[in-house]
């Protein structure tokens, strides 16, 4: 008998009937004191939360302004920039390639992680912004893969205001509705951090030292 079968045998023998009572259907609004009740204030809450964690949040009126913002942010650190190829970035950030010129690294040309590690700024889209926790939820397939949002020291997220949801519950529900052929999703809440030495907070332990979220208002 294989280990798998032996383990299953033990599991089955250990089973006792589950409680007949159905699990209560509990929503985030019932659990969390800080669940946002006013939909109009979601952006403000998102901004407050993420800034508390020393993330940066910018709200821009349209796509052109978003491009401006990303260029300005990239300029503030210098070095090479990699942008998630194709849509939705092409329409979210019109004319970005021309403006960054040779600082722009072609994602297709960088294969191994060693080259990748020299990129200073990674620009990606996201699937959801979560107001209650100040988080960004993204999947590999929508955000340029696993490395782009974690290897470069500066991660810039560009998203539309319509992607904002109140809480984790809505984001996870939304994730279920999206195309399922992804292998990896990350829920990101602030720049990388550690407090392993004397409980003192340090940013940029291994992941990005800076995280900026540019929110584009609906046109």
């Amino acid at each position: 008998m294989s280990a798998r079968n032996r383990i299953f045998e033990k599991l089955r023998q250990a089973m006792r009937p589950a409680s007949a009572e159905a699990l209560p259907d509990v929503r985030d609004a019932d659990v969390y004191r800080d669940y946002p009740s006013d939909p109009a204030s979601l952006f403000e809450l998102f901004k407050t939360r993420l800034e508390e964690l020393r993330g940066e949040v910018y709200r821009v009126g349209d796509e052109v302004a978003a491009s401006d913002k990303v260029v300005e942010l990239a300029d503030s650190v210098g070095g090479s920039v990699m942008v998630q190829p194709g849509e939705p970035m092409a329409s979210l950030l019109p004319g970005l390639a021309e403006r960054l010129c040779d600082r722009l690294v072609d994602a297709a040309a960088v294969a191994d992680s060693a080259d990748f590690a020299r990129v200073e700024v990674g620009v990606t889209a996201a699937d959801f912004l979560i107001a209650r926790t100040g988080s960004v939820l993204l999947r590999t397939i929508s955000s340029g893969g696993r490395r782009l949002s974690v290897l470069p020291p500066f991660h810039i997220v560009v998203a539309r205001a319509s992607q904002m949801v109140p809480s984790l519950e809505e984001a996870l529900n939304g994730l279920k509705g999206l195309s399922p052929d992804w292998s990896y999703a990350a829920l990101i809440t602030g720049p990388s951090r550690t407090a392993d030495i004397e409980k003192i907070l340090v940013l940029g332990a291994h992941g990005p030292k800076r995280l900026a979220v540019v929110v584009v208002d609906a046109a």
Binding site: L11, Q13, D112, A185, A186, G204
Partner: protein
């Protein structure tokens, strides 16, 4: 030396180490302040939230075979391989075989207590593999040649001076006491490990049955890099860590973050459903998930202990434990320290060697108070003692005899009265033979028992 005796020696040495005590109290005080505040600001009712979490986990434990099977089917459909390991040795061997097949020379790991449980680092090093711990705390203890001190904060016992010295001596880094610079030394040091490793090994905090996924929670990003760069990703996870679906993360991620570090939610939570899929720009070619039993099914089979498998390894019970705070994490000599360790270790590794752990507790119950999944830890410690004595016969012959005599005497008032003078004399004579700390703990019996004083009291009253 036998483990129980060695434990006592380590404990005695640590309790004398005042510097250690102050370091730990300071770290845990900071932790407690933040956590208590977060519970209050984030949850409407913390107690209700943890009861709900306990209910969900109990439900999972009652449906474990079905849910594990669902997980296996779904993640395998996307190209991951699932291996069932009954023992630590089987899990180790699977990884060693994989290392050989991939001809891996460098392995990068993110923090995982389950890999500690199976002694993975030693096995890999023995096979000539370069193993890099990537979590800052883990890196510190690895460089120091130590074991993790705490399941969540492995280097809690090191202050900045200790780390500065270590990094200077072992990594050749410039001497600095700046915590930020120390962190950057670790960052630079490990960048190369992520990109050169052939295999990345992580643990997992949750297994999602419905989505066929594993979830890993962290703050530093080392786990994400470990899952993003190397061509092979190995996950070692205890088979009890199941949640029915992604939906439950909305409760469990904040719960774990709050109890673990006092955060609203940890910085990074990764949901992984397989190796790189068609259409994805990167990600590992292979993903292996090792589902570890190693004694868990035995816990599951005992109705009284089953619910300890709710544990989400948040570390709160360690921080709350006054014994842990006094003797420190290393004294336990186990991958899981503190109350949770003292409950499960005798079951996972045998009562023979580990029966002393549940006894090394005052049964105060601070652990049960803080546990986010409502595990009755201090009662389980007590049931462990019962099992140790009654079923595993671990009590020393001297103690057994003493307890028998005590019970014989205590059954009847007459016998106590008879034994009393002899006991008083006996304690006086034997006291000097005991070591100081124990000598101070022996009570001196009063001249007269209450029973006798009461007689006088009653007599006096009747005289009036």
């Amino acid at each position: 030396m036998q483990e129980p005796r060695a434990f006592l020696q380590r404990a005695a040495a640590k309790t004398r180490d005042e510097e250690h005590r102050l370091k730990i109290l300071k770290a845990i005080d900071t932790y407690t302040r933040v956590v208590e505040q977060r519970k209050h600001t984030q949850f409407r009712d913390w107690r209700q939230a943890r009861q709900l979490a306990a209910r969900i986990k109990d439900d999972v434990l009652a449906r474990l075979p079905e849910l594990l099977q669902q997980f296996e089917e779904r993640i395998t459909a996307r190209g991951a391989r699932v291996f069932w390991a009954e023992t630590a040795a089987e899990a180790r061997q699977y990884i060693l075989d994989l290392v050989a097949r991939r001809q891996a020379r460098v392995v990068v790991k993110s923090k995982s207590m389950t890999t500690e449980e199976i002694g993975l680092n030693e096995a890999l090093q023995h096979a000539g593999v370069d193993v890099w711990e990537s979590d800052l705390g883990e890196l510190i203890v690895q460089v120091a040649g130590e074991k993790p001190y705490h399941i969540v904060t492995p280097a809690m016992h090191k202050n900045r001076e200790d780390v500065a010295r270590l990094f200077h001596e072992k990594l050749g880094a410039p001497l600095t006491q700046d915590v930020e610079q120390l962190t950057m030394i670790a960052r630079e040091h490990l960048r190369h490990a992520y990109v050169s490793a052939e295999i990345g090994i992580t643990g997992a905090n949750f297994i999602l049955a419905e989505e066929g996924a594993i979830v890993m929670t962290e703050n530093e990003g080392n786990g994400r890099l470990t899952m993003a760069c190397p061509p092979v990703h190995v996950v070692l996870v205890g088979l009890e860590k199941v949640l029915p679906s992604m939906r439950e993360l909305a409760l469990f991620l904040p719960l774990l973050a709050t109890s673990g570090t006092g955060q609203q939610i940890t910085c990074y939570n990764s949901i992984v459903r397989g190796p790189r899929q068609p259409g994805e720009p990167d990600g590992p070619e292979e993903m292996h998930i090792i589902l570890l039993d190693n004694g868990r099914t035995e816990l599951l089979a005992q109705p009284e202990f089953q619910h300890v498998l709710r544990c989400i390894r948040c570390g709160a019970c360690l921080n709350a434990c006054p014994v842990y705070r006094t003797i420190g994490g290393h004294t336990y000599n186990t991958p899981y320290q503190g109350p949770i360790g003292s409950v499960i270790t005798p079951h996972l590794r045998g009562f023979r060697q580990w029966y002393h752990l549940p006894f090394a507790s005052s049964l105060c119950g601070a652990c049960s108070d803080v546990c986010p999944v409502n595990i009755d830890l201090h009662h389980l410690l007590l049931w462990n003692r019962h099992r140790a004595v009654e079923r595993e016969h671990t009590a020393a012959p001297g103690w057994r005899l003493a307890m028998k005599l005590w019970a014989w005497g205590m059954r009847r008032r007459k016998r106590i009265a008879l034994l009393r003078p002899w006991l008083r004399l006996g304690t006086k004579l034997l006291l000097p033979l005991l070591p100081g700390a124990q000598r101070r703990r022996v009570p001196s019996m009063a001249e007269h028992s209450f029973a006798r004083l009461w007689r006088d009291h009653e007599r006096q009253k009747s005289h009036f």
